[in-house]
């Protein structure tokens, strides 16, 4: 394959919509709206820009306990159509779910599981760690006591 043809293939691959492995297309739309409600675009990109919903699609079946997976699936079903709601309604719905879920144990709480995976997915992604936060793979040493700079971001790890 010539390099021009390879270029076309790569372009097509990049443009192709990413396929979810666990959740349906409509569930992924709901999830996308939920992660962006938790971590919207600010001076850094929104959670969905870092594919946080795709992180969740892979990590929930791999890492969550069976009980948490069950809670998450039924919680997601209860939010069906969330992406179609107005912003105000989205905020109100998620707030009320958060209030109801916070007293529950982690495995029983859709909101806590969602927030955990949203934050881990985003803040440890390349976009989250390097744009929303600060990250150095190899800091080069340790400086224990420095003045905090104006508007300085926290370290990702």
């Amino acid at each position: 394959m010539g390099s021009a043809a390879l270029g076309q293939v790569l372009t097509a691959f990049a443009a192709a919509p990413r396929k979810a492995t666990t959740f349906s297309e409509s569930e992924m739309r709901t999830l996308r709206a939920l992660v962006d409600m938790i971590l919207p675009a600010t001076d850094s990109p929104a959670a969905s820009a870092a594919d946080t919903h795709y992180f969740i699609d892979l990590a929930i079946p791999a890492c969550a306990t069976p009980a948490a997976q069950k809670t998450f699936r039924s919680g997601l079903a209860a939010f069906a159509g969330f992406d179609q709601l107005s912003a105000d309604k989205q905020v109100a719905k998620l707030k009320s779910r958060a209030a109801a879920d916070m007293p529950l144990s982690y495995d029983e709480s859709f909101f806590r599981i969602l927030k955990d995976y949203t934050m881990t997915g985003y803040f440890l992604s390349e976009i989250g760690a390097t744009q929303a936060l600060a990250y150095e793979r190899v800091p080069g040493g340790f400086w224990g006591d420095l003045p905090l700079q104006p508007n300085q971001k926290a370290w990702a790890i």
């Binding site: 791999a62 190899v138 800091p139 080069g140 926290a154």
Partner: protein
């Protein structure tokens, strides 16, 4: 047969085995190092060392499948996608927990010298004299003067840094300058100086280079040591002692070789070699040597002795005392405190320091406690809260994101590391009727903490709370968690040293009382547990025992 005969055989390639290999090779002995785990080459095989979180599966979060394969190892604080390959598959390497015991380990060249916590304090005469003075267990057959030059020798070679404690209970060391304290740590240090005469906060002594040494380091501030260090900035067998041994041309390092037992010649009263099972082919081969160093880790070295049985030693090689397998110890770290601090919001740090701060032992040093014997030192950690502080709240949205992407308030954590008294009924033994796929009997472990440890843990918590309050830290919360033995990963004892062959297994040179050409220099030799992390002492006594052994060998006395 020729290629299977060496001057010395070292069983194990970790903290102690690496030192035995280096010392014996440098003294001219053709040395075979047998490692039951797989090869793990320095730097080349540290495959996750420089991975970013997003380059690891699930952003470095362990999966249910990982936890099923490693149900014990995965409970360790170090365990994640980047480090899981350093730890054993628990289902493959089964042991019987007569009482709950967490055995964290890695079977590969270098052993736990790759994943250790790197703290290196010396023991003092407060430690070496305690058993004798109190009538606990048996007296250590050595004193600080015996080991002091060997601490010097080891510290110079491994390269350690820290704020030299130079206290009677923590003797002066040969150290590079310490890593810097955070603003919060400086503040607490000052507060302790005002509030206490017997307590201070210092930077831990740690086998991490703050300056370059022999082409190694300095530390690059990654704090991902357990993945292996591409900069050789912390001490490991793989990066430091094994290369020194190999450089002599006298080293043969053989991975995938589990030692079944030693070969004992009753007529000569000497061990003539070892029986090795190839981990993959299950083929048994005998290797021969003039001396054997057991450095396979506490539980495994003692298991090899227990599995070497015959007419002269029906209950395990060198077990005339009946103490082999007994007096198992680990530290306990259940007591401590957490706090926060809302000041110093204009100070931050850069880099990820791979060491703790430390509060040296102050109980039963110059005073006498009524409630318990011995004492504890604390590890102390501080940092400004990061994004994870937002996981457990109901908040979300732009304001929430803006807030948690900035450094939060300071949080502070300390936990004590307490001495555990040796007790005869804390022990390991073999089930000779239950063999694993390599033909090695199942290992049973039974250990519990006693009244002394429980009383101490309570005081550990109360002292931590008192110190945090004295420093005017906020939201001070004490804790006193139950600890599963093994969890501190300082298994010690089971082949203790001592003066009297009737009550101990090894003499003052780590030599079996009963069989003079066998030396045991890992944690199994420990007579008491002090409060300090023990690896530095294993290294120093390994070097000392190697010096003694080679001297005796040259005199024809082994």
């Amino acid at each position: 047969m020729g290629t299977q005969t060496y001057d010395a055989i070292v069983v194990g390639s970790g903290m102690s085995g690496g030192w035995a290999a280096k010392e014996l090779c440098e003294k001219g002995l053709k040395t075979l190092v047998l490692e039951r785990g797989q090869q793990l080459r320095h730097v080349t095989d540290y495959t996750t060392a420089l991975k970013d979180p997003w380059q690891l599966p699930h952003n470095n979060r362990a999966t249910n499948a990982d936890k099923a394969a490693q149900p014990i190892q995965s409970t360790l604080y170090l365990y994640d996608q980047s480090t899981k390959g350093m730890f054993v598959d628990d289902n493959r390497y089964h042991y019987e927990q007569a009482k709950p015991f967490n055995w964290y380990r890695g079977y590969h060249v270098g052993g736990r010298s790759l994943m250790w916590s790197r703290h290196v304090f010396r023991f003092s005469d407060l430690d070496f004299e305690a058993n004798g003075k109190e009538g606990v267990g048996v007296d250590w057959p050595i004193r600080y003067a015996d080991i002091s030059p060997w601490y010097d020798y080891v510290e110079k070679f491994i390269g350690a840094s820290g704020e030299n404690p130079a206290l009677p209970q923590l003797p002066k060391q040969i150290l590079q300058p310490p890593f810097e304290m955070t603003a919060l740590e400086k503040y607490v240090k000052g507060a302790f100086e005002k509030a206490f005469t017997d307590r201070r906060l210092i930077c831990s002594s740690i086998a991490v280079l703050s300056r370059e040494l022999n082409g190694r380091g300095p530390c690059q501030g990654r704090n991902q040591c357990a993945r292996g260090c591409p900069y050789s900035a912390y001490f490991s067998s793989n990066g430091v002692t094994l290369p020194a041994a190999a450089a002599t041309g006298n080293l043969t390092l053989q991975p995938d070789s589990v030692v079944h037992s030693l070969i004992y010649d009753e007529a000569k009263n000497r061990v003539t070699g070892v029986r090795v099972v190839d981990v993959n082919t299950l083929k048994t081969t005998e290797y021969f040597s003039r001396i054997v160093f057991l450095c396979a880790s506490t539980l495994n070295s003692t298991s090899i002795l227990l599995n070497t049985r015959g007419k002269r030693f029906p209950n395990g090689l060198g077990n005339d005392s009946g103490e082999l397998g007994h007096n198992l110890m680990d530290h306990h770290n259940g007591g401590g405190a957490t706090a926060s601090y809302s000041g110093l919001l204009d100070r931050y740090y850069r880099g990820r320091r791979s060491t703790s701060m430390y509060i040296p032992r102050f109980r039963n040093v110059t005073t006498h406690e009524e409630k318990f014997k011995r004492g504890y030192g604390y590890e102390f950690y501080s940092g400004r809260n990061n994004w994870t502080r937002g996981v457990e709240t109901a908040d979300f949205g732009a304001d929430f994101k803006n807030e948690i992407t900035r450094p939060g308030t300071w949080s502070v954590y300390t936990e004590g590391y307490g001495e555990t008294l040796p007790r005869h009924d804390n022990r390991i033994w073999l089930s000779h009727d239950k063999l694993d796929k390599w033909g090695i009997p199942a290992l049973n472990v039974s250990m519990s903490y006693g009244d002394n440890e429980h009383a101490m843990a309570q005081q550990m918590m109360e002292d931590a709370v008192e110190m945090f309050k004295a420093a005017k830290l906020e939201d001070v919360q004490g804790f006193n968690h139950p600890v599963t033995p093994g969890s501190v990963i300082h298994e010690m004892g089971t082949a203790r040293m001592g003066r009297d062959p009737k009550t101990s297994v090894l003499n003052s040179h780590n030599q079996l009382h009963a069989v003079p050409n066998v030396f045991v220099t890992d944690g199994s030799f420990m007579v008491s547990s002090p409060t300090q992390n023990p690896s530095l002492t294993y290294m120093a006594l390994t070097a000392r025992a190697a010096d003694f052994a080679v001297d005796k060998l040259k005199r024809g006395e082994l």
